[in-house]
């Protein structure tokens, strides 16, 4: 039994993200129980499992339906553009209709078994040369027959027969609570080896779908709940957040931030495949920093991509013109793409999928997101954290530079949720702050962190005009800028204070 972990092969389902969290797919030649409450997308999983097999290499699939009629299933799955009718004609997909026939009455007299169902499944498997079988959903068969013990015995027999047919099967089952018994009727007893739970949780007034591999006997898998989403036209996509290996190679190639002075402060520019966080209160110049970052990319003829979650297209383009950058012209040349989205239009999972697909399509060399913190309000803290990690690792895998802006909750600074969750995974952090000095508001910039490089530790003053951002000398007589509690210091007093410190030290010695 020592080698059992290696012995169990897995069948790649091709359900996006699932093979990653399951470290290879479903245990091949076995039955896996998919359990979930009503509306947790069990049927979608069951149907997509077959579709992915057919679309990948023409592997046949058999769908045994216990609850809905085949027509209902086709109708419910129609939004995914899966051409089940066509696959049926090609003998790639076959239904075994075990749904209740409401127009007929049935009486049980004496002993029986489910050999007819088993014969029908075997017939369909042979006819389609199926390697994948879905049974959806098992609880419904218990309502068609009175003797629960017979049904349980027969399901056990069917499960064993599926193993002999050399097919990989999923068996869906209902549960009554999101966190409770695995499934009703104790069905997990006869397919106890592999259990996956789908959840549809109401978390902080927001719906969140998650998938968890509870048991995978004798084989490895990722632990915990992973969010997933259902995309029209595609189906179910699992978001493998923390399962993504953070093994990006770092590069030593520097790229320009779009501002010469800022490049100097960073020790010669940003690294090509790094994530830069720009934090500041509203109006401190975050959008400007992102705009200049985009412009610098287009100057090198590199495609640059800007996601705006706070401002409209018109507003952004007008701002850019005000700083001497013509976004419209750059877009026409195909060097720039500006995508404006209202955070509220979708859940975070969907935003992530959308961002990923645009990046994959446009293939930019640099990406800016203005602002990341605008997305906080459409999610729970946990969901937001998962989103940020997922997004960061995706961008890093593309080996492109990513700039995220983050709006601080108060005008004078402070830390936002974004920063709390992202600061450890970013390579560089730039702070933009208002600085109050002698009754005047000025702006300060500092490079707080620059992974793998020397950087300027000063807090420097900057001004904004029609040419953009101009970074000037350091604030020398102000302290407490970053915390937001600025204090001017009189240099002469300060020297005196330091002198006193020394005398006290001497006295103590």
């Amino acid at each position: 039994m020592k080698n059992s972990i290696k012995d169990i092969e897995k069948l790649a389902t091709r359900i996006p993200g699932f093979d990653h969290i399951s470290q290879g797919g479903l245990p091949s030649g076995r039955t896996t129980l998919i359990s979930g409450t009503a509306g947790s997308a069990k049927t979608v999983f069951a149907a997509q499992f077959l579709i992915e097999g057919i679309e990948e290499n023409g592997t046949g699939g058999v769908f045994v339906t216990f609850e809905e009629s085949p027509d209902d299933i086709k109708r419910n799955m129609s939004s995914f553009n899966w051409d089940i009718d066509h696959f049926e004609q090609e003998n790639k997909w076959m239904f075994v209709d075990a749904s209740p026939q409401p127009e007929e009455t049935q009486l049980e007299v004496g002993d029986y078994d489910l050999s007819a169902l088993l014969a029908r499944i075997e017939y369909a498997v042979n006819k389609t040369r199926a390697k994948r079988v879905s049974l959806d959903s098992i609880g419904a068969i218990f309502t068609q027959f009175k003797d629960v013990n017979i049904i349980r015995r027969e399901l056990f027999r069917i499960s064993a027969a599926l193993k002999k047919m050399d097919v990989t099967a999923v068996l869906t089952a209902e549960r009554t609570k999101e966190y409770g018994d695995i499934a009703r009727f104790g069905v997990e007893e006869f397919v106890a080896d592999n259990v996956i739970i789908l959840r549809n949780i109401l978390d902080d007034e927001k719906r969140r779908r998650t998938i968890e591999i509870l048991k995978y006997r004798g084989t490895m898998h990722q632990k915990g709940e992973y969010p997933f989403t259902i995309i029209p036209g595609e189906g179910l996509t699992v978001i493998p957040l923390s399962a993504i290996e953070l093994e990006q190679k770092s590069s030593n190639v520097r790229i320009s931030s779009g501002n010469q002075e800022l490049d100097k402060m960073c020790g010669g520019g940003f690294f090509r495949d790094s994530i830069i966080l720009v934090s500041g209160a509203t109006g401190t110049g975050k959008t400007l920093t992102a705009t200049e970052f985009m412009a610098a990319g287009t100057k090198k003829k590199e495609p640059s991509l800007l996601f705006a979650f706070e401002e409209s297209r018109e507003q952004l383009f007008r701002n850019a013109i005000g700083w001497g950058i013509d976004f419209e012209n750059l877009e026409r040349k195909g060097l720039l793409k500006v995508v404006c989205v209202y955070p509220e239009t979708a859940g975070l999972e969907d935003h992530l999928i959308n961002i990923k697909s645009i990046i994959t399509e446009f293939k930019p060399k640099r990406v800016a997101i203005d602002s990341l913190s605008a997305l906080e309000r459409v999610s729970t803290i946990k969901g937001f954290r998962e989103f940020v990690i997922g997004l960061t690792s995706f961008i890093k895998h593309q080996e492109i530079a990513g700039m995220f802006t983050s709006t601080t909750p108060t005008l004078m600074g402070g830390t936002s949720i974004t920063e709390a969750h992202i600061s450890t995974i970013t390579d560089s952090i730039i702070l933009l702050r208002y600085v109050e000095t002698y009754g005047e508001m000025r702006r300060g910039i500092t490079v707080l962190k620059m992974r793998g490089s020397f950087h300027d530790k000063d807090i420097r003053e900057f001004k904004i005009d029609s040419k953009g951002m101009h970074i000037d000398k350091a604030f020398r007589d102000v302290s407490g800028i970053i915390s937001g509690y600025t204090m001017q210091s009189n240099i002469r007093n300060e020297i005196a204070r330091i002198d006193n410190l020394f005398t006290e030290d001497k006295q103590q010695q």
Binding site: V96, D97, A98, S99, Q101, E103, E104, T105, Q106, L107, E108, V109, G110, D111, Y112, D113, L114, S115, A116, L117, A119, R120, E122, Y123, A124, I141, Q144, F145
Partner: protein, 89 residues
Amino acid sequence: MNKYTFKLFLTGKSARSEGAVKTIKQILKDESGLEFKLDIIDVLESPDIAEQNKVLATPTLIKLLPPPVKRLVGDLNDKEKVKQYLDIQ
């Protein structure tokens, strides 16, 4: 009087199969005036017919005519219960 049409689905020659066949034949013998048609189908040989008729369990007796369509599941070990359910007096 309407003609009775039955389909009896079985699995091979099991004890349950034989029990069901015996009961139905007994009923038809008792009611010698009954006009009927009885098809016996082995699901192992004709799974496609089982699929068309959406049969899950064996033995299953389907009374197609006269309406309404009625199903009996099991080895039919209670002749009177079967007759009563099928409206055969």
